[in-house]
């Protein structure tokens, strides 16, 4: 059973569709969306609709901090983010807002823990940006594999023989053996707003039977996504970020 892991779609329909069809062509049978369906992008309504359909068919969908902010605004967002969130509030249907506010923060299935930010207090939206932060996340749960988003870069943390955490920057497309006698934490990358100066959408495939993790990058029509951001009057900086991957 090949599992496709998507995070931080951020209302980017073009990127989401590209990743979904890429994952299907690779044989993915299960889909997990690790939060932040909305924010930044122009297509909140269409993205929530697509992901909602997948949820009806059994996909796992978690809540991210942007999804939470639709109902309860938070002070830490910058002006551009606030503008995109307001745009989402204006365009999402009442039912879609209920769907977002009803999403769980964390899910456990078999040997896997899924969470948007960190399993160590998911509601605190801590960034896993160091081996120490990865260690705190693993201490807070006992799953062999933990997958999260929130940080937009793809990173694989793993436990060494002495229990310390080590950090690895994966090469897209290489199937990495992730044997179950160690503990692993994968940051799956952002579908809708990569920030490593490469605009290609990012997601990850997990094969629990073969114990392999493959980080992937999918080129898509970023210009179209950026044009929609401009067309609906959102700050130009959000369009640049999508076009340039920053």
């Amino acid at each position: 059973m090949l599992i496709a892991l998507f995070a931080d779609v951020h209302a980017n329909l073009e990127a989401l569709n590209a990743c979904l069809s890429h994952a299907r062509s690779r044989g993915a049978q299960r889909f997990a969306f690790l939060g932040d369906l909305v924010g930044y992008g122009a297509d909140a309504r269409a993205v929530v609709e697509v992901i909602g359909r997948h949820a009806d068919q059994g996909a796992l969908v978690l809540k991210g901090n942007h999804d939470q902010a639709i109902a309860t605004s938070a002070g830490y967002f910058n002006d551009a983010s606030q503008a995109a969130l307001q745009w989402a509030r204006d365009t999402l249907s009442a039912e879609q807002k209920r769907f977002l506010s009803g999403l769980p923060l964390l899910a456990r299935e078999a040997t896997v823990c899924y969470v948007h930010a960190s399993a160590a207090g998911p509601e605190r939206w801590e960034y896993i940006d160091s081996p120490a932060a990865a260690g705190r996340c693993l201490e807070a749960n006992d799953a062999c594999y933990t997958f999260c988003g929130h940080v937009h870069d793809q990173v694989l943390y793993f436990q060494t023989g002495q229990g310390r955490m080590s950090e690895f920057r994966p090469h897209p497309g290489t199937a990495i053996p992730v044997r179950g006698h160690r503990r692993w934490l994968g940051i799956v990358g952002s579908v809708g707003q990569p920030r490593d100066r490469n605009p290609a959408a990012a997601y990850t495939l997990f094969d629990p039977d073969r114990e392999e993790l493959t980080f992937l990058r999918v080129p898509y029509d970023a210009a179209a996504a950026a044009a929609k951001i401009r067309a609906c009057g959102l700050p130009a900086s959000l369009a640049y970020r999508v076009e340039l991957g920053i």
Binding site: T160, G161, H171, I176, R179
Partner: protein, 474 residues
């Protein structure tokens, strides 16, 4: 307790034979596969010590070797056959490589310079073959090199290795900071497991040992003792064995530079120099027979840094260090294509902060009976002079260039053979000129080289004047 496993024991369908090696972390057995799983070549079975009280390092190292070895191919590594689950019985089944290890050759050391060069070039080929596949061995020593009856070398024991595309499971393990104390590189001692030039340092230690019968830094038992090599150049090989020629001393000392930036930047370049001793650029240290003072050594590093340091600092960004072969026609020095070929070479030089350029002229063999040996030697010298005249305006340091005048009836196949033997990454040559246009393209040197090369080929054409020719082809 380390009790050897009884012959005849069957693990996952593999029947163990005699134990052929007991190392610090595990043992190696001959093994036969169940019918139907027999790959058709002889096999060995590597099993870490699993008993109570054994360090976990043996298992960690086997886990790393399972990952790295199963991703490597080619004649310079044992073929990977199977791996056992780390959680059940961890093992590796791989090809049994028949041949003496370099450790056995050491029994006869010091070896003649020609033999050091022959064996050394084979070892460098093997190291290059592994580096090309994004792996670094990190534990090169004479026991880990086997020389096949064909003369090709094979690297064994990838238990300390790492592969750029897979997590380094040993990176945080303190016990792994140092490999084997006599061979470990300065940067490995400092915990850096990311630099393939560490393997070039270890290769330098092996060459030193073959040429002198001695270890350049001894076999220190303490970390403090090993740290000597962070700042100290070894006694020159000629101090231990005056029969070591200057070119071999230069190659060895360049491998053993404490700073990786001052070493060879690619195993292919070491193989090249060992195969072309006459092309090795010598300096004052090459012929030295005694160790230099600390002050002189600092002076050497300072000069070397000023000369090459700034360029090499960009190296990490530029990626691999290529070997580029430029084919020059010295039989027709006034050929219209020469300026274009020189321009293309200049552009390539500006692209790479560090590279190795081979300039090759293939001349037709002198007709039989046309003259004695002297005239052929004279012809050779004449062409070499023309080649040097062609190269000099490019202003490249001699340490990065080599000139070759080769006789051959078929220029295309001669170029291809040379390119393959010297790990060339790119061949640069002229497109058919005006004189050859009448010929079919497939009969030109450029077409046969492009069709059959093992690497990329850059075919340089003299731009056509647009108003004269009908087409815009470039």
């Amino acid at each position: 307790m380390r009790e050897p496993i009884q012959p005849g024991t069957v693990i996952d369908g593999y029947t163990l034979g005699e134990c052929i090696h007991e190392g610090g972390m595990g043992a190696i057995y001959r093994v036969t596969a169940a019918p139907g799983r027999d790959p058709g070549f002889a096999l060995v079975f590597k099993l870490p010590y699993l008993g109570y009280g054994e360090s976990t390092i043996g298992i960690l190292s086997l886990e790393m070797e399972q990952i790295v070895l199963s991703r490597l191919t080619g004649p310079h590594v044992p073929r990977f056959v199977a791996a056992g689950d780390i959680r059940a019985v961890p093992y590796i089944v791989m090809e049994w490589i028949d041949g003496p290890s370099v450790a056995q050759s050491l029994g006869r050391a010091p070896l003649a310079p020609e033999e050091v060069a022959r064996i050394g070039a084979a070892l460098a080929d093997a190291v290059h073959g592994v580096h090309l596949q994004e792996a670094i061995h990190f534990d090169l020593k004479p026991e880990n090199f086997i020389v096949r009856p064909t003369g090709e070398a094979v690297l064994l024991d990838f238990g300390f290795a790492r592969h750029a595309r897979y997590p380094d499971l040993l990176g945080e393990e303190r016990e792994f900071a140092a490999g084997s104390s006599a061979y470990v590189s300065p940067e490995q001692l400092q915990g850096d497991r990311s630099d393939e030039r560490s393997d070039l340092f270890a290769l330098g230690v092996v060459l030193y040992e073959l040429a002198t019968g001695k270890l350049p830094f001894g076999e220190p038992q303490t970390l403090a003792g090993m740290r000597d090599r962070l700042w100290r150049a070894p006694e020159p090989p000629r101090a231990a064995n005056p029969a070591v020629p200057a070119w071999l001393q230069e190659i060895i000392l360049r491998c053993l530079e404490p700073q990786a930036d001052l070493r060879y930047q690619s195993a292919a370049h070491i193989a090249f120099d060992l195969r072309h001793p006459e092309q090795v650029a010598l300096d004052e240290r090459s012929a030295a027979t005694e160790g230099v003072s600390v002050a002189a050594q600092v002076g050497h590093w300072w000069r070397a840094h000023r000369r090459d340091g700034a360029l090499r600092r960009q190296r990490r960004l530029a990626g691999r260090v290529p070997v580029i072969m430029v084919a020059v026609d010295t039989e027709h020095p006034d050929d219209e294509r020469n300026p274009a070929l020189q321009r293309a070479t200049r552009q390539l030089i500006s692209l790479y902060p560090e590279l190795r350029l081979m300039f090759v002229s293939v001349v037709r063999a002198a007709p039989i009976g046309s003259g004695d040996l002297d005239t052929t030697t004279g012809r050779h010298l004449e062409h070499k002079t023309r080649l040097r005249h062609w190269v000099e305006p490019l202003g490249i340091s001699r340490a990065r260039t080599s000139l070759h005048v080769v006789e051959g009836a078929n220029a295309g196949s001669t170029l291809l053979e040379l390119a393959r033997a010297n790990h060339v990454d790119l061949i640069v040559l002229g497109a058919p000129g005006a004189a050859q246009r009448a010929l079919a393209w497939w009969r030109s040197v450029a077409s046969s080289v492009t069709a059959n090369a093992h690497c990329s080929v850059h075919v340089v054409r003299v731009p056509e004047a647009r108003d004269e020719g009908g087409s815009d082809a470039s």
